[in-house]
């Protein structure tokens, strides 16, 4: 078990380093850092001095090392556009994105898994077929369109829910602002989180359904029936557990993807999160923000992957390989 964790940690570090390398390459070689930071009337001598002070003349490895070291401390330099430290900009918006992603994740999992199980068990029923049709819609509608439609329906026509922004937020811990504690905050969360959740929800649902249908066809399910076990035991005790094990990994990845997909939702709803920041950075070619976002997302993914792998290990006895006697 220990060696397993150790190996995974090692892999994670490799991934982070690779991503950091890419981020650094972007940082250093796309456009000219000096150019982006100064005005037009800066003299050449001043530019050269700036380049020197930024360490731009040092060998590649040294620059990369510096970058990686700074990144670990959360220092990603100054944004070209806003002229403020990137870490500040991100911290301001981190809680917005994380809260949104969290609520969406809960929705996607909480509805996706039960629906998947239901449509697998009652695959011939009319409700199942209806759900499958809806799920097809869910996969065919681009997230931004869903957002627009929801805004149209609930915000413009019915006027029940706010259509942009986070509502009122409360400060905790200095930099973490939460929308959970105010009514308007909660109301503002509803439409964006549903929008973000729908795509993942349908994916999870289809995955669980497909996997469960597979498991229901296996020999051990047949043998369980042959022993006279009632359907409830067969479906939930045996089939479901075996379904969820392979589903864990993919679900973990999907939920991690939520943080990145938030980009779209944040754009549609003008939600002040990291995603919105990132999109504007892409349009403005604001490299420091892009690099920072990349590294941050990688970090989240690596952590989620680790957690998922450990869960998998804990749940599936076959992975704790003992010799078969």
């Amino acid at each position: 078990m220990i060696s397993f964790i150790f190996k995974r940690l090692l892999q994670s570090v490799v991934v982070m380093l690779t991503v950091a390398l890419i981020a650094f390459a972007m940082f250093r070689f796309v456009g000219d850092p000096v150019n982006n930071m100064v005005g037009q009337d800066t003299t050449d001598t001043e530019r050269a001095a700036l380049a020197e002070s930024l360490g731009l003349n040092d060998p590649f490895i040294v620059q990369f090392g510096r970058f990686a070291f700074n990144a670990m401390r959360g220092d990603f330099g100054i944004s070209y556009k806003y002229r403020r430290p990137v870490s500040e900009l991100i911290l301001e918006r981190l809680s917005a994105t994380l809260e949104l992603s969290f609520v969406s994740a809960v929705l996607a999992l909480g509805l996706g898994v039960p629906l998947g199980v239901y449509t697998a068990l009652k695959s011939r029923g009319i409700i199942s077929k209806g759900i499958m049709v809806l799920s097809l819609m869910g996969v065919s509608l681009p997230t931004f369109l869903i957002g627009i439609l929801l805004i149209l329906l609930f915000g413009v026509v019915l006027r029940w829910l706010p259509t942009f922004g986070r509502g009122d937020v409360v400060d905790i811990y200095g930099w973490w602002t939460t929308g959970f504690l105010t009514v308007s905050g909660l109301k503002s969360l509803i439409l964006p989180s549903i929008t973000l959740a729908i795509f993942q929800l349908t994916l999870i649902m289809r995955l669980v359904r497909a996997e469960m249908l597979e498991v229901l066809r296996t020999d051990f399910v047949k043998f369980a029936r042959a022993r006279g076990l009632p359907d409830r035991a067969v479906h939930f005790k045996h089939a479901l557990k075996n379904t969820l094990v392979p589903v864990i990994t993919i679900t973990g990845l999907q939920l991690g993807a939520l943080i990145a997909f938030a980009i779209i939702t944040e754009s549609v709803f003008q939600w002040p999160g990291m995603g919105l920041l990132f999109i504007q950075a892409v349009a403005d070619v604001d490299i420091p923000i892009m690099a920072a976002y990349l590294v941050l997302i990688a970090f989240f993914f690596v952590v989620i992957n680790m957690v998922v792998d450990i869960l998998y290990y804990a749940v599936d006895p076959r992975l704790r390989a003992d010799a078969a006697v």
Partner: protein, 309 residues
Amino acid sequence: MEQAIEKSRMERFLDSDLWHSFKRNPVAIISLIVTVIVIASAIFAPLIAPHDPFNLVTIDIMDASVPPAWEAMGDPRFVLGTDDQGRDIFSTILYGARISLIVGFSSVIFAMVVGISLGLISGYVGGRTDAFIMRIADIQLSFPSILIALLIDGVARGVVPKEMHTDLSIYVLIFAIGISGWVQYARTVRGSTLVEKNKEYVQAARVIGIRPFTILRRHVLPNVMGPVMVIATIHLALAIITEATLSFLGVGVPPTTPSLGTLIRIGNEYLFSGDWWITIFPGLALVILVLAVNLLGDWLRDALNPKLR
């Protein structure tokens, strides 16, 4: 042995389970028809479109914001209404669908070529090469395709000189969406290759002396294409959505050649002021297209799955 009737390719196809399942499935038939109609309209857009939305001469700003023909203020010249510049919505949809399809198909083909090649090599050669390719694939899988597409797009913006932006942006887009999608193909093909590699007909070919490249081409590839086609349809839908999303966000196709996503973006600003048709119709077109492709993909997957028969 009784006299064997040799069936032609066509006869074999008509007799196959695949065709039979298709004939029986009205949903599949309808989606195929819809897809074909949409694709055909997009290809022949210049011939079908009643107006050329990009010809500045024919556009009259006085025609701006006209509602669809069946509404009170509508104009029979513009069946689905016009946008804020006076362009006919129906025509812009046709041209827009064209762009969406071009980008969609090209990205899929790009991803397929890269993915299948890497998958074959990875699966057949194994060892370090396999581990290396799969490691890259795993890392890339950690990132959602949209993020990768955005990154590539953003980097390209910074690297490519401003004058060449509009010319190259479609290629960059195709590359970005394609690169973000090769992994699925590679993994599936690798899995199938691993399975086929151990099958005895591949071993028989090796015993005869056939070289690896020929084995891959003649024996393995035809047998792994089934799952690839299923992925391709799903991927096509995804590619179209990704392109639409990127264009909606403003970082996709250039505004001179708007796709359905761009149109939706433009219309979004007028949603609240009541000119709903500028967004809704392109949106509808997008949904119909993607839905049809998805349905085809679903049917294909079920039809090709030997276990479900």
